[in-house]
Amino acid sequence: MMRKIQTPLTAEAARSLAAGDRVLLTGTIYTARDAGHKRLTEAISRGEELPLPLQDAVIFYVGPTPARPGEVIGSAGPTTSYRMDPYTPLLLAHGLRGMIGKGLRSQEVIAALKQHSAVYFAAVGGAGALLAERITAAEVIAYEDLGAEALRKLEVKDFPLVVAIDATGRDLYQEGPAAYLRQREQKIAEGGQD
């Protein structure tokens, strides 16, 4: 069943989500990837004001293709998340509540998700044309010189996600394949075909 959630994402809402839940997210989210994360964390360490409100925010790891004339955005699927791991605990400590990406996260990130009641969502990688359909507005708000890596503010409507790692640290990337392998073994034990 699909659950509808909204941004800003409160700690309470984050704690109500469990790994494996499929959700539709609506509201304002922000984009940042490698170079944007580097600049954000540098700004935090210098005590500067950030170009986005981090409290209860959701960051989408994406570098979209340029929009064709008349379109809101180009292709916009998630990039691989582990590259943002070195920066993530600091952002979580400053109020970040959710991230959208794909792929594995480090033990440090998982510990920080638990500590700060935050969640990590996965979107379908390589489905950038499909995901762009759910983005209703896009605007560059900072670091324009980074091109595809600039910080953007997006409005999304029913953006399809799965909870990959929840605020208790449960990780669907461990549980999903393990469950599949258990089922397959059971089938084989029962004399069925794989």
Binding site: S75, K102, V124, G125, A127, L130, G176
Partner: protein
């Protein structure tokens, strides 16, 4: 000698790079449909449905299948009787520049690996050349995303490690990559040669149509065996569990030294995008 107008090369590269980003190759599409039919799990099926729908939508709306429109790789097989009127390398880069700036494709290349300033036009492409008989130029072009490129690995195994060592290394590479390279993946394996050629072999392997097995029966069987064992890992679509971890495995080989067994694995995503033309 055939006089070859390099403008032909620019036009071909421009066309092939654009089409690669927008239209999923038919062999990949077919294999994704087969994978969808073979999955039982709700999540695995939903993901493969999304990928098929995404491919249709990308083509209809002429927007990229994936926002990572890649680093361009161009493999040229140049007939020995071809004489280029001008610089073929510059002609290729110009084709890439035109494709990416005129068609709303992402510019993902930085000029320097450490100082990281974007070149702004997705150049340079990585170019590989080979001399062959004849007076034609065969162009194989791929746009390689780095989500999967980053998960690629190379090992200098011992001859004693043998075929089991090679299989283990391939399986370990896929396992370590997990969900990161956007499974179901395509796996290119190079075996033999030396340190750099083995990586090149793994790249070449990814250019082969999915249904085409190695011409040597021994390696054709090994490709089938590796694919079977990869798909027993249970990673499945997007690494969330399922049967389809890989759509295909292709192996390329070269002779090697008595002391060595080089192996390279070039991982590619479910949007393995390439085109081939003969000019």
């Amino acid at each position: 000698m055939r006089e070859f107008d390099i403008k032909l090369l620019t036009a071909a590269v421009r066309r092939m790079a654009y089409e690669s980003c927008i239209v999923l190759p038919s062999d990949i599409h077919k294999q994704l449909e087969l994978a969808r039919a073979n999955e039982d799990g709700i999540t695995a099926r939903a993901i493969l449905d999304d990928l098929l729908e995404n491919a249709t939508l990308a083509q209809e709306k002429s927007i990229p299948i994936c926002q990572d429109t890649g680093m361009v790789q161009v493999h040229l097989r140049i007939g020995r009787e071809v004489h280029f009127q001008g610089d073929p390398y510059a002609a290729i880069q110009e084709g890439v520049r035109q494709a990416y700036t005129a068609n709303y494709l992402r510019k993902s290349i930085v000029a320097d690996p450490l100082r990281r300033i974007n070149t702004g036009d997705n150049t340079p492409a990585m170019i590989y050349t080979e001399l062959v008989p004849g007076d034609r130029v065969q162009v194989s072009l791929s746009v390689k995303g780095f989500g999967s490129e980053n998960m690629s690995r190379l090992a200098m195994l011992r001859p004693a490690d043998g075929v089991e060592g090679v299989i283990d290394f391939v399986l370990q590479t896929v396992k370590d990559a997990g969900p990161n390279p956007c499974p179901p993946i395509v796996v290119g394996v190079g075996i033999g040669g030396n340190f750099d050629k083995v990586a090149y072999l793994a790249k070449l392997a990814l250019l082969r149509p999915l249904a085409q097995r190695h011409s040597d029966h021994y390696y054709a069987e090994l490709e089938i065996e590796m694919l079977r064992r990869i798909n027993e890992l249970g990673l499945g679509p997007m690494g969330l569990g399922g049967r389809s971890t890989a759509l295909g495995v292709a192996i390329e080989i070269l002779p090697t030294h008595i002391a060595g067994l080089p192996v390279a694995v070039n991982v590619s995503c479910h949007a393995t995008r390439h085109r081939e033309e003969v000019l």
